[in-house]
């Protein structure tokens, strides 16, 4: 949801005359929405700005984002960071992947989700 939110906001800022760049990890959501400029890091969600405890990787990620801001020739410009989370890409198979869950795990998640829905119902601007 975070990636969709910033995508919608970037579009609004840009239409209002403010150039934007998004730094993010969910390529499909951002590109499906359609945004002016996007630096994509192929990292687990939560690491849009570089690796944990690695200032050099964070600085390199920001520098790439700034270059996308400066150099994008038109809207829907995506640049992918050359950094890799790790050599082995098997982490990509885990996120919300039903194929990797047992029926018991799915039932457990279903119960947890019902609780979350109840909490959200009590809040304004339900989300």
């Amino acid at each position: 949801m975070c990636h969709q939110t910033v995508s919608l906001v970037a579009r609004h800022l840009e239409a209002g005359g403010l150039p934007t760049v998004i730094m993010g990890c969910a390529k499909d959501i951002v590109e499906h929405c359609g945004v002016p400029r996007f630096l994509f890091s192929d990292f687990p969600l939560g690491n849009s700005a570089g690796r944990p405890f690695d200032a050099a990787s964070q600085a390199a990620t920001l520098e790439l984002a700034l270059r996308v801001l400066e150099g994008a020739p038109s809207g829907r410009t995506t640049v992918q960071s050359p950094l890799r989370w790790r050599d082995d890409a098997s982490w990509k198979l885990d996120y919300s992947n039903l194929d990797k869950m047992t029926p018991e795990e799915i039932a457990e998640k279903r119960k947890e989700f019902d609780v979350v829905k109840e909490i959200i119902k009590t809040k304004p601007g339900r989300t």
Binding site: G16, L18, K27, A89
Partner: protein, 173 residues
């Protein structure tokens, strides 16, 4: 010649979450925002002279609403529902327990991975950007496209303009 493994592609989050929530009993698939046209505004000034606004989806820490991490389970009670702003000279205590980050492969222990304030300050000190605006801004993550587009996005634009921003860097968590 050896190709990379088939699964070594950007994760298809829309498909994964659609399938996942159907399995969890949500039979009404979420409609993700999708537009044909994309607005585009050229840079008005070189970055070395530009005032940069930073926009995050991270939440200010709220005492009393449960575990907010690092590493906390998803915490819907820690969500926020209004745009907020804080000084870029401060050291804000921001958390991301209210969003669906990858809890298996990252622990959210280092806020610099989703909130590049320190790195932007360094870029300003080095002259790579002109300056940060006096405030950064928090964008609520709302399932409702209408709330984001009609309420939150206009408020964020208003605050960026008030701060004299020339460009904005947006970072989802």
């Amino acid at each position: 010649m050896t190709f990379a493994p088939e699964h070594d592609v950007p994760i298809p989050y829309m498909q994964r979450t659609r399938d996942y929530y159907v399995a969890l009993g949500y039979d009404n698939p979420y409609r993700w925002a999708h537009f044909e046209d994309v607005p585009f505004t050229p840079l008005p000034t070189p970055l070395a002279q530009a005032r940069v606004a930073l926009i995050t989806t991270a939440a200010p820490y709220q005492p009393g609403v449960g575990d907010q991490g690092p590493g906390a389970p998803y915490n819907a009670a820690a969500k926020f529902y209004k745009v907020y702003s804080d000084a870029t000279t401060a050291a804000p205590d921001l958390r991301i327990s209210h969003v669906g980050y990858d809890r298996k492969h990252t622990t959210a222990e280092d806020p610099n991975t989703w909130f590049p304030l320190a790195r932007l300050r360094e870029a300003a000190a080095a002259g790579r950007i002109g300056a940060l605006t006096p405030r950064f801004h928090g964008a609520p993550t709302n399932r409702s496209h209408r709330v984001t587009l009609e309420t939150d996005a206009p408020e964020l634009l208003r605050r960026c303009r008030e701060d004299g921003a020339d460009v904005a860097v947006l970072v989802p968590s």
